[in-house]
Symmetry: C3
Subunit: 343 residues, 3 copies
Amino acid sequence: MAKTNPGRFFEDYRVGDVIEHAVPRTVSGGERALYHALYPARHALYSSDEFARRCGLPASPLDDLAAFHVVFGKTVPDVSLNALANLGYAEGRWLKPVWPGDTLRSTSEVIGLKQNSNGKSGVVWVRTRGENQRGEVVMDYVRWVMVRKHDMDAPAPETLIPELKPALEASDLVVPEGLDFSDYDFTLAGEPHRWGDYEVGELIDHVDGVTVEEAEHMMATRLWQNTAKVHFDVTAREDGRRLIYGGHVISMARALSFNGLANAQMIVGLNGGAHANPCYGGDTIRAWSEVLDKAETPAPGVGAIRLRLVATKGGEPFTRKGDDGKYLPHVMLDLDYWALIPV
Amino acid sequence: MAKTNPGRFFEDYRVGDVIEHAVPRTVSGGERALYHALYPARHALYSSDEFARRCGLPASPLDDLAAFHVVFGKTVPDVSLNALANLGYAEGRWLKPVWPGDTLRSTSEVIGLKQNSNGKSGVVWVRTRGENQRGEVVMDYVRWVMVRKHDMDAPAPETLIPELKPALEASDLVVPEGLDFSDYDFTLAGEPHRWGDYEVGELIDHVDGVTVEEAEHMMATRLWQNTAKVHFDVTAREDGRRLIYGGHVISMARALSFNGLANAQMIVGLNGGAHANPCYGGDTIRAWSEVLDKAETPAPGVGAIRLRLVATKGGEPFTRKGDDGKYLPHVMLDLDYWALIPV
Amino acid sequence: MAKTNPGRFFEDYRVGDVIEHAVPRTVSGGERALYHALYPARHALYSSDEFARRCGLPASPLDDLAAFHVVFGKTVPDVSLNALANLGYAEGRWLKPVWPGDTLRSTSEVIGLKQNSNGKSGVVWVRTRGENQRGEVVMDYVRWVMVRKHDMDAPAPETLIPELKPALEASDLVVPEGLDFSDYDFTLAGEPHRWGDYEVGELIDHVDGVTVEEAEHMMATRLWQNTAKVHFDVTAREDGRRLIYGGHVISMARALSFNGLANAQMIVGLNGGAHANPCYGGDTIRAWSEVLDKAETPAPGVGAIRLRLVATKGGEPFTRKGDDGKYLPHVMLDLDYWALIPV
């Protein structure tokens, strides 16, 4: 057993450690096709090379969330194999589009540690960077997880809680080079609603639902080379159920949000996110959004919109937390992100 | 909710309207691989670039039915979101092969309207055209659907029932440029039977069966960006079952027909089709064919064969309708098409 | 029914027959993406073009087992449609990598025959070769199957049992042209263990498990154009269960073996293999390995390691056969192969 990876435990992390994650990955048209088979993805910029060219890009990039999943997947064996909970995300930025043929790799820097008062686990903050084969950072984000200790006698590290922005400023966002929405085709995009048509505070029920299957979430999770046992092995948890990778719920909800947000084309910022309740095979995922903020960008015709995306199974749309401030049981995801949209 | 697409209702259609459907789609080797993973597709011309070259084409095109599904899928949000029934197809023609890298878009012209006598719904006929990025029409077909009215007080439109050919003539068929079966390799194609070996009236039981799974039909239907709720959401119908996209049954039956019709390589005409009974996850699809007609084409070595393709779940092969002229309950599909086959 | 393929029966084989199998297949990035979606495949050389280049190859080839499945799948309609059992493999060699864009075809030569004493069936040995579009043999292997007789009165052929090596010698192995592990990146590969770190007799429990779904194994098996009814049709067997293609278990176990054997990058030899017990949807596959042998190769930095790979469902790791010499009921696969690993 000495040769297999036991994962890292809380006491194995030191602030400042940089972990180079294994198994780089070259993506192709195959990943794009699979992404569209696994999610009802319809944002035109990721569906059509011609549409992407009309928006100033050389071709249709890999879906923004697919890029996130690839970068994230590589971190799992080093960061979350012994995680008790995935606590949050912050300061996520998409810095360069990922093109078919690109090879992605990930590194994570430990930027915070805090042992829990029970002495049996602690919280680890990492800033993860995804790089392409030219050494360009294509995205980075912070996430924090609660990790078990293995050696309960290991001393508690000095507590360091990193300062993280509650949300990215519009000026933090990076618009892909060349992006230009001044000749945007709203007909082909599928909806007429532009930046100016959305108001802060507006709520959108995305109407459609998808009942998820075990084969689908496992195929998705494997495609991103995410190895966490709980997604694949019915014997890994006491209840005999496979827990669906939280990223599957993110992608499903984002794809469903096309209906009402068809022009929120590219995700460029991840302000925060909570996997509020687990998702299992057989659940029917629905989604609603709230407009949290709007901003201008320097790119021609390109505005930014900050959205809350909530994925639910059952329950009334637009309900999120109870009177006690806790997530209601039907809420699976509460994501806060910035997207680019034609003005 | 104002921003989501409610779909069109019967009173929203006018004869002569041209609807430009959204979300163009670039296809790649990923779509081909997925098509072969979802269906037991073995027609050699769509499986091997080398085989396609020996048949005079520059490479293996996207499967003819995959091209159909992409073109069709784009029409769903505008044509069949509020459809009560998909009533028929006519005058379908494949005009140009679709190659990896091509981007497809669809437009539909309303060519007929007839309000039902109950005043609550009506029949809409559309002629849909799929175009590639060079503006070439790659296929066109007529389909008609029964659509709900939303405003029951909307006046009935003038009835116009388009004149449609009961079947395409051989002279209507377009043989792909360069196609030449004079050096056709029957061994690599998988069967020795050529055009001359089939007789009008001949019946072929394709023997094999495939039990279909929810994950598969949803992946297929999403890949074509078909958004009809009933295929994905167990809460969309009273019986809690997901209705399988009729096109999934078409592709499954066509793939099964390889066994007996391995040389009926390319579909070039769709004369008509009925989705006789619904298909659900767990059903085992089988298929049989009847030779309806044969014709010559001007292309070297290329003949045309008109086939009835029937997909069933259970029941005796070659049974189709009862004494009352209605489809028997085990019949799911009755399709009438022209294919190209070596003489 | 005369036009469909009934498959060959025992009396239809003659020693020396060469069967050219139908339906050549062009592979692309789509097959790679699907392979990674269907199996938790993480060997870096098949995941990253950049990693493959650092190992002296022009790009990442199609996964070695995917190449095997494509070549194998073509033989099914001619060799195993009426097979009662897949008895064994020997002398399998990977001779050339398969690249995206390559087109594969297969031929099999009958090299042995032995009628069973009951007169109702017999064993057929074939040597199968997979060729690319340049006529280069990319792999060859021997397999033997028990096939039903159709005409019980057909005379028994002369018995010929081919002499087969119990295992390939290291000198039989073909290292891909250009392969060079002297600048191998162990960090990106995922584990530090090199050739010198493994000892003959060493046992490795690969820890992880995957619960398999019907949709997945059917998609995989179709992708390889394997048409055996028992994998797809619940009515094909009396118990109403779909038997999972043995190759699905091989690929799943090999992918799981990454955890402990991440550097056993390329499979180059197949010494033998037994599908000890059937696998069904819902089974949870685990794997363990035993180091059987080690050898040097002439390629820079490249060693060879001979491994036993055992796939199980339940049961204790490292158990394989009972006191009676028979496989224990939880053992599904016992495979003996050579892989290339950095020294």
